[in-house]
């Protein structure tokens, strides 16, 4: 009795994963049939490139959401990280790799502060990270004096995202490094979530925080680690963003957090914590960027693209709820 029940459950789980990939595939087929310009090497690469930054934020916030928390500051912290890279490289003339580390470090520090405020000061994650969102936004503007910081003196900086190692090895396949970095980050995030103690405790805390504490976990410490980890991915997103634009744009960033959270929930991660996957998040992020790209190719006005994305978020999560119930 129990065995058949669980087998059914397993089958549903597989179905769920399949459905997610299926919807992405469906989108691809639909747009390919609708327009000859969609399924070309150039366009697929541009979809991937468009997914990179949002995808990085989504990877980071996946860890946080699995604990049952939320991080609203990822958008503006990404901007602050970009600005700090600019400060290191352009203002202070540090070598590029230190600028990159500075950007990532900024993201990690902001995440760490979020972690402290949430675990030690016991603020709800929504409020703590809302505060951090405003602080990071303000600091970006203050530090940059509200003007973009350009990386013109460090031409190698823009090659981080826009150069192509792959293109050099296999001529004709000019996949930008940003995509490569994103793919490596996905692999790393997936390993952390599924194979390491961080991932294990992530699920444990999100599944039942009190029981985790009573099992002897130092829940406060692990939360700080997880929020910092989120910050690392956000910092990498910031550096990537700056490299792509060859400048740090202090006014950009707000609103990115919601796109990233949308990607996570489309990917089947529950906002109440305890479940979720890196693969789901990645598919979620691709669904969003594919949709925008496809609608643009079909000449749907930008305003309507936003409306459709909203419907997709609601629809995807509703489907997930229905599947769970069934």
């Amino acid at each position: 009795m129990e065995t058949t029940y669980s087998a059914g459950r397993l089958r549903r789980e597989i179905l769920r994963q399949f459905l997610m990939f299926g919807s992405l595939l469906l989108l691809f087929v639909f747009f390919s049939l609708s327009s000859p310009n969609f399924f070309t090497f150039g366009n697929v690469v541009s979809i991937m490139l468009a997914t990179c930054v949002n995808g990085m934020l989504a990877l980071g916030v996946t860890f946080v959401i699995i604990t049952g928390g939320i991080d609203l500051s990822i958008g503006t912290v990404m901007t602050l990280s970009a600005v700090m890279s600019g400060v290191f490289i352009t203002y202070w003339g540090f070598p590029v790799f230190l600028g990159i580390l500075g950007g990532i470090g900024t993201g990690m520090l902001c995440g760490f502060v979020n972690g402290i405020v949430i675990s030690k000061m016991k603020l709800p994650p929504f409020i703590a990270t809302l505060g951090m969102m405003m602080i990071a936004k303000g600091l970006s503007l203050v530090i940059s004096r509200a003007a973009p910081i350009y990386f013109t003196h460090a031409p190698s900086f823009s090659r981080i995202a826009m150069g192509s190692i792959v293109g050099r090895l296999f001529s004709g396949f000019d996949v930008p490094n940003a995509v490569l970095i994103f793919i490596v980050s996905i692999v790393i995030a997936n390993i952390i979530l599924t194979k390491t103690v961080v991932g294990r405790y992530d699920f444990a805390i999100g599944s039942n925080e009190e029981a985790a504490r009573l099992s002897g976990l130092n829940v406060d410490k692990w939360k700080m680690i997880i929020y910092s980890l989120c910050g690392v991915f956000v910092g990498m997103g910031g550096v990537m963003m700056a490299s792509r634009l060859n400048s740090a744009q202090p006014a950009l960033g707000q609103g990115y957090e919601l796109d990233a959270i949308a990607a996570v929930v489309i990917g089947g991660t529950s906002l109440s914590g305890g479940e979720g996957s890196v693969i789901g998040t990645v598919v979620g992020a691709f669904i969003m960027s594919t949709l925008i790209n496809g609608l643009r190719i079909l000449s749907v006005p930008q305003e309507w693209q936003i409306v459709v994305s909203g419907i997709i978020v609601i629809g995807a999560v509703y489907l997930d709820i229905v599947r769970r119930r069934g």
Binding site: T3, R200, F203, E210, A211, A212, S215
Partner: protein, 500 residues
């Protein structure tokens, strides 16, 4: 008046798998305080829920003021004049006394019915409170009041419905001596006015002071009704407990010289834990008995570091240890298995393996970071076999297991962590009868292996059958220690109701 206010006859009530009430009877006269007593789970609350319309009876009849009535929901009960004051008060702390009393039927301003007439509500509340000499300002917020005063607000609320029957569920559980006196004064006033009061209580000794008659229930049955001057505490207890048959156990007696693995000295925290000291010996099952709210769980959680204490010392194998968090306790080999497994014990959405391995994670890491799946699987499987946990695979989510197997998953978790001192809080709660004996067997195996167990239980037969030694608590204090060979249910109940 020649007829009872309330007469309940032949009341049956079943829930899926449980016969909660069988042919129950209860009678209440106007101007009477009628106490209703029984062990936890005897059916008192269920019977009262039938009377107040929360549950529907399967059979029997309720006669109210000479007429048979149907009570399909709590609202009808209220309209008939039957009100209940629950043990957990149902007040809104941020509203004032008057606002609470008239919630849902607020007075409106004449001509402007959208607006509330606070003054008239305050006046009416004041009148009501004055009538019984209850000294509370109706304008004050409920959260500013003591529990005792809040209870009076609840009574006033009940009276505002023109109640003729007032049910008090464990009204004195959270009150001090002086507050109890005040409550009794008010209840006597209500009685003079011809009201019938049903008084549910575990504190048998206070019944003499307030009750006129006592009805005893056991296992969903009506046992009998006594006039108060005929009812001695011993008599009531023997009616509550009923059986005098004790299962003899095969367990060995624990020697005086056996090593003490855990010693607790002078543990204190407010009114919940008062000067608790005891010793636990190696290979012993120490039963911790008492009524609900006696402070047993509080003591267990304090030893485990889940809650803090004001003072007290804990020794493990003679060494003084400082336990500030569950992690500290676990390091010293102490584990706590909560009665509320779903809330405090398990990650329901995660697999058996994830749950079992969680506290011992550090043993299964490579480079302190990567989980060694193969090793963790092997060790987990070992304990699943040993404890006979019925699960199709280690990847099964814990929420799909039965209560007994969930309990075993928690035991496996602590055994894997090498915990030598296991504190079980209601180990068989929510576990069906068949699986209970399996848990008992497991407990016996554990102590044979040299583990030591503190077992908190509200089920007397369980305590008597399983323990080597029994400590009884009442109101945060240890009121008695009984060797299992001399223990009887009457003796345990006597200590459990020993208030100071």
């Amino acid at each position: 008046m020649k007829e009872p206010l309330v007469l309940m006859e032949g009341i049956d009530k079943s829930f899926p798998g449980v016969r909660a009430l069988e042919n129950c009877r209860f009678e209440l006269w106007p101007g009477e305080v009628h106490a209703l007593v029984g062990e936890n789970g005897a059916g008192k609350s269920t019977l009262m829920k039938v009377l107040t319309g929360v549950f529907q009876k399967d059979a029997g009849r309720i006669i109210y003021k000479g007429k048979e009535v149907k009570i399909p929901n709590p609202r009808v009960a209220q309209e008939l004049g039957i009100s209940i004051v629950h043990q957990e008060l149902n007040l809104m702390p941020h509203l004032t006394v008057a606002q609470n009393i008239f919630i849902g039927r607020e007075a409106r301003r004449k001509g402007f019915s959208l607006f509330l007439d606070e003054e008239s509500m305050n006046e009416r509340a004041q009148e009501l409170l004055d009538l019984f000499h209850i000294n509370i300002d109706p304008r004050i917020r409920v959260k500013e009041l003591t529990v005792a005063k809040q209870q009076m607000v609840e009574i006033a609320k009940a009276l505002s419905f023109n109640a003729e029957v007032l049910i008090m569920d464990e009204p004195t559980a959270a009150l001090s001596e002086a507050e109890v006196e005040e409550l009794f004064r008010i209840l006597r006033k209500l009685k003079e006015k011809g009201m019938g009061i049903i008084y549910i209580s575990h504190r048998l000794e206070e019944l003499k002071e307030i009750a006129d008659r006592v009805t005893v229930m056991r296992d969903g049955h009506y046992i009998g009704t006594l006039v108060i001057h005929e009812a001695t505490i011993d008599k009531i207890i023997s009616m509550m407990v009923g059986r005098n048959i004790y299962e003899t156990s095969s367990r060995e007696h624990i020697d005086k010289e056996t090593e003490v693995v855990l010693e607790v000295k002078n543990l204190n925290r407010g009114r919940e834990i008062r000067d608790v000291s005891f010793k636990l010996k190696k290979g012993e099952i120490l039963g911790l008995a008492g009524l609900v709210g006696a402070g047993r769980t509080e003591v267990a959680r304090a030893i485990f570091g889940a809650d803090s204490v004001e003072s007290g010392e804990v020794y493990v194998r003679g060494q003084r240890v400082r336990i500030k968090s569950p992690a500290d306790a676990i390091r010293h080999g102490i584990a706590y298995l909560s009665e509320d497994r779903r809330r405090y014990g398990l990650m329901l959405g995660l697999s058996v393996e994830d749950n079992v391995v969680l506290p011992s994670m550090s043993e299964f890491l490579r480079f302190n970071f990567f989980v060694h799946r193969k090793k963790s699987k092997e060790r987990c499987a070992e304990y699943v076999d040993k404890l006979r946990i019925k699960t199709p695979t280690l990847a099964q989510k814990v929420k799909n297991l039965s209560g007994g197997n969930q309990q075993k998953v928690i035991v496996a978790k602590w055994l894997l962590k090498n915990c030598e001192i296991l504190i079980f809080d209601e180990p068989t709660r929510g576990i069906d009868v068949g699986a209970k004996s399996e848990i008992y067997k497991l407990l016996n195996e554990l102590v044979e292996e040299g583990k030591s167990i503190i077992m908190i239980s509200s089920e007397l037969p369980e305590i008597l059958r399983m323990s080597h030694r029994i400590l009884v608590m009442c109101e945060g204090r240890i009121t008695g220690e009984i060797d299992a060979r001399e223990a009887t249910e009457e003796l345990v109940m006597k200590y459990a109701t020993m208030r100071n």
